[in-house]
């Protein structure tokens, strides 16, 4: 086993603030949406809390964004421009998650600094981090000041459309909060990936020195 530094400090700081913030947003969002049947927090306080955390997470997102935009680690979020290779790697990874993992087969993906995600993770995180998270922030911002952003809301298709997109993404992220820790527990030990997201170092079987550009 070798240790490979794949989670730089800014990414770890962003990750854990984001994780806690998203849980808080989901809980306060549930309180806002179902205030008629749930009364853990007063409605006004839940809205204030939801807004404050939302703005904090928008700021936090820029830690992540600026880090990747201005370092060569941006490659982690680059698409595979070879469709044949992409589909082959995805199918192998899906076969591993669906079958191989239960048979103790080795993970077909080998972590490296510039390829820390497998094919399925890669596409998922690209869509989530560069499309869905900003979209959720944007719709949240529009709903925060409906009158001030009336023009943008009109362009988006109206308040109902903005609200629907925000809630659909809320459902998606709520599901993600459960799926993500499960998938993170599928390392060589159940806590390996959690420790790595604290220390920055992933334990990998192959020699890190052989990690070169794709």
């Amino acid at each position: 086993m070798h240790k490979l530094y794949v989670h730089p400090l800014p990414v770890r700081i962003w990750h854990w603030i984001n994780a806690l913030g998203f849980i808080a947003l989901i809980l306060s969002g549930v309180q806002i949406r179902y205030s008629d049947i749930l009364a853990v927090l007063p409605f006004g306080l839940a809205v204030q809390l939801h807004n404050a955390i939302g703005f904090a997470l928008i700021g936090n997102y820029f830690i992540w964004l600026l880090f990747y935009l201005f370092t060569d680690k941006i490659k982690v979020y680059h698409p595979d421009l070879n469709p044949a290779r992409y589909y082959r790697d995805s199918l192998r990874q899906a076969a591993f998650y669906g079958y191989g993992i239960f048979k103790g087969r080795p993970n077909p993906h080998h972590v490296s600094v510039y390829r820390k995600f497998n094919a399925l993770q890669s596409i998922t995180y690209q869509i989530i981090m560069i499309l869905l998270v900003p979209l959720q922030f944007y719709t949240g911002l529009l709903l925060w000041d409906v009158n001030g952003f009336a023009g943008s809301i009109e362009l988006f298709g109206g308040v109902r459309m903005v609200s629907t997109v925000h809630v659909l993404l809320f459902i998606f992220f709520s599901a993600f909060i459960f799926i993500h820790p499960y998938l993170a527990s599928l390392g060589h030990t159940p806590t390996a990936h959690f420790k790595a997201m604290i220390t920055g170092y992933e334990e990998v079987e192959e020699e890190p020195v052989k990690d070169v550009a794709r």
Partner: protein, 195 residues
């Protein structure tokens, strides 16, 4: 017509040579590989190269020794150490041997391309061709000069990624059906042949 710059990559792991080839081919470079120091010296004795990139830890001769031997016989030839064992002692030994740069793995494609570009004699302002103990070029210490074109490409790919990803996802069922149809056709064709 421009002449290809010949780069000798010395590493016992063939993946490294393939990576250099993948990054540099089509960009004015020809990548030739050697699996150990002796093979590298044999190749250097037979033909001329424009730069040598060598790993340190290899069976037989170390990369530092390869660098020292190359610099003794061809002091004008830039040698770059590429290693995962980037200790201070190794770096000091490499500098003493007169290497042009000391790069630590993992290497990004930009690091490979930029270092290959930077060590070429015509791209090294003020670097005397006979500088046996030439210091490491500032642009290569520790690795990557920043370039606008590379930055623009990286950022472009970054923001294109989710849309390319969505295109892959949307195309997946059609590709799956196409593969099934193709397999079915092959099976039928095989059955017909068997008859």
């Amino acid at each position: 017509m421009t002449t290809l710059k010949k780069i000798l990559v010395v590493d016992d792991d063939p993946v490294v040579g393939k990576s250099f080839d993948r990054v540099l081919s089509g960009k004015g470079y020809a990548v030739i590989t050697a699996r150990d120091g002796q093979e590298a010296l044999d190749k250097l004795a037979r033909e001329d190269y424009d730069a040598v990139f060598t790993d340190i830890k290899m069976p037989g001769m170390s990369g530092i020794e390869v660098a020292a031997r190359v610099k003794t016989t061809r002091p004008w030839l830039p040698v770059v150490i590429v290693t995962g064992y980037g200790s201070d002692a190794n770096e000091a030994a490499a500098r003493k041997a007169g290497v042009a740069a000391f790069l630590r793995k993992p290497l990004s494609p930009e690091m490979i391309e930029d270092s290959a570009h930077a060590v070429m004699p015509e791209n090294r302002p003020g670097a005397a061709a006979t500088a046996v103990a030439s210091p490491m070029p500032a642009a290569l210490a520790p690795g990557v000069p920043w370039r606008v074109g590379t930055f623009a490409r990286n950022v472009g790919l970054f923001f294109a990624a989710p849309f390319i990803g969505l295109a892959y996802v949307i195309a997946l069922p059609f590709i799956g059906l196409g593969m099934l149809a193709w397999r079915g056709y092959q099976a039928l064709a095989k059955r017909e042949q068997a008859k």
